[in-house]
């Protein structure tokens, strides 16, 4: 009885993806031709054009920004999720989770624009930092990669927290008691019981955050200026500004492929690490 999911998947995922892939092999239509893409002659021209040095440099920056952002989100998000799931009484938990989501009732754009005010060289943050002597000159973070990084961490933090929270909240607390009972201290218990059991949530959060961050173009557009470009900007520029849907599609397909490659690489790395860990620990029998 999986067909409703299958239909949903097909209509909203497979079909659009198919069109993007198809468009990426097309060409820009002539002035009088109808439709956004000419599909009479299919070729790899768009890919040849997209495989430029700029694309890879921007892709590199994108990976760094998204990767670092994901790691920062995990470092901030895990303790938050852990505190809510393990140290807050059940009736307060849903309220706290609700409070985490409340800011998202405001538009993504508005929240990101708000950071321009906070981070502005003449803004409050800048003045406070100068007043207490941390900075000797105005804060010059706006329209740089650092601002994009910050915006990404801010925007995707809940995407990281929620799956981790759900995984942690499901852990039976008697398992932690059992671990302590068997002689494991708090840190060993965390590493050997809590963390492995929360791993599915953590991986979910990491993958989701990374994919969303890597494809983002709103945050770099608003906070990054010209220095903080990401792949999303390149694609958006091709499709929206240059009206070059075929080239944009080719870039999008390349982004999807490269992202998938990165994720597979990370998954392989984790698998090997796990095997190594097992080898080091030795078989139980």
């Amino acid at each position: 009885m999986a067909w409703p999911a299958l239909v949903w998947w097909t209509v909203f995922f497979i079909v659009p993806l198919f069109w993007i892939v198809l468009y990426s092999f097309g060409s820009r239509p002539g002035a009088e031709a109808p439709g956004p893409v000419a599909l009479e002659t299919l070729s790899f021209d768009n890919y040849r054009q997209a495989l430029s040095e700029i694309f890879f440099r921007v892709f590199q920056i994108t990976m760094r920004t998204a990767g670092l952002g994901t790691i920062l989100c995990a470092l901030i998000g895990f303790p938050v999720a852990y505190a809510i799931a393990m140290h807050v009484p059940p009736r307060w938990r849903s309220i706290l989770v609700f409070l985490l989501i409340v800011p998202y009732w405001t538009s993504f754009l508005l929240r990101t624009f708000a950071w321009r005010i906070i981070l502005a060289p003449q803004g409050t943050l800048s003045e406070v930092l100068q007043a207490i002597g941390i900075l000797g000159r105005p804060l010059l973070i706006l329209d740089t990669n650092a601002a994009v990084q910050l915006g990404i961490v801010y925007n995707y933090l809940p995407v990281m927290i929620l799956p981790i929270y759900v995984a942690l909240e499901r852990i039976d607390t008697s398992l932690i008691k059992a671990s302590m009972d068997l002689g494991a201290g708090p840190l060993q218990t965390f590493l050997q019981v809590t963390l492995p059991l929360a791993a599915p949530g953590l991986f979910g959060g990491l993958v989701l955050t990374f994919i969303l961050a890597a494809g983002d173009y709103v945050v770099p557009t608003i906070l990054g200026g010209t220095k903080g470009l990401m792949v999303g900007n390149l694609i958006a520029t091709q499709i929206l500004a240059s009206q070059n849907l075929p080239l944009g599609s080719a870039m999008a397909v390349m982004l999807i492929g490269l992202l998938a490659g990165v994720l597979i690489l990370v998954a392989l790395l984790l698998f090997v690490l796990q095997r190594l860990l097992k080898l080091v620990r030795g078989a139980p029998l």
């Binding site: 008691k177 059992a178 068997l182 002689g183 139980p284």
Partner: protein, 299 residues
């Protein structure tokens, strides 16, 4: 106070609390790893522990692939592999069905006598407590109400709570007659006892207690002092025994239990005499058992 993970006590948890991401052998090895037991010795001890609970052939199964009874065994092996001086079992058999539970009771008892380790077995099931223990502590609101061997608790309970908790009791509220071993019920019937709890005051508010197996039924008025007329409300077949639910004229219930071979089924509504010997009747200081804990004496 010593942190839990530094105590020489291990626990079998109520819901077993096996680590779901580890197989049976890894679960058992967990405690030994924490102590840094060398690999060779660790493997041997894990194997021995699994063998002891007959789970060696399930060593590589995850808890989710094991039945309740099997999980129970793994939990037992996991706790015992550390050779604690005391093993705490927190209602370990509560989730098992009756037959498996009785089987595990026997196995636990055998295991305990083989190992010589002290087992502290927490249970709400008084039959389980009687059947398995060398010594029972009846707890109430976190305090020990009475500590003793099973026969002592059963035959000489210190309070009405213990009397009702271990086995079944009929309680009759009333007042002690002076400082004698007799009481007058609220309806004015006098009953004779052979034992009163020490320190019972003059004319004290008391609960007289008689066990169902000591309540006999007779068609004609018996010569016994402790007797009442009653009506049969229900016959309950318990296998080797019959239980009669009697209703007294004041509406109270009285239970009587007799071996099947000694009695026939009595028709419901039949009028009978219920009677018991004074040496089966004990006086306790009155306490309101029903309001505090439900009915601890009912099964």
């Amino acid at each position: 106070m010593l942190a839990p993970y530094r105590r020489d006590v291990n626990t079998v948890f109520q819901n077993y609390a096996l680590f779901p991401h580890m197989n049976a052998a890894e679960n058992v090895a967990y405690g030994l790893r924490q102590d840094g037991v060398p690999a060779v010795e660790r493997k041997k001890r894990v194997r021995d522990a699994l063998d002891m609970v007959e789970m060696l052939s399930f060593a590589d199964r995850k808890p989710g692939q094991l039945s309740g009874g099997q999980q129970q065994r793994v939990a037992l092996a996991r706790a015992l592999v550390k050779r604690p001086s005391v093993l705490l079992l927190d209602e370990p058999l509560g989730a098992l069905d009756r037959k498996l539970r009785q089987q595990m009771q026997v196995e636990l008892k055998l295991l305990q006598s083989q190992l010589g380790t002290t087992f502290i077995f927490v249970t709400h099931d008084q039959e389980e407590a009687l059947a398995m223990s060398d010594s029972i502590a009846v707890m109430r609101h976190g305090r020990i109400e009475q500590l003793g061997v099973p026969t002592e608790l059963y035959d000489n309970p210190a309070t009405a709570f213990v009397a009702g908790f271990i086995g079944t009791q009929n309680f009759i509220p009333g007042y002690r007659l002076g400082d004698s071993l007799a009481m007058r019920s609220e309806r004015g019937v006098v009953f004779e006892a052979s034992r009163a709890v020490r320190g019972l005051k003059y004319e004290a508010h008391v609960l007289g207690a008689v066990r169902p197996e000591n309540v006999l039924l007779a068609a004609r008025e018996p010569p016994t002092r402790n007797r009442l007329t009653a009506k049969i409300a229900a016959n309950v077949m318990l296998g080797d025994t019959m239980e009669f639910v009697l209703v007294l004229p004041d509406g109270r219930e009285l239970l009587s239990r007799m071996p099947r071979r000694d009695v026939d089924i009595l028709p419901e509504g039949a009028e009978v005499w219920a009677h018991w010997q004074s040496n089966a009747f004990t006086l306790f200081p009155f306490e309101d058992l029903e309001s505090k804990q439900g009915k601890p004496w009912s099964n």
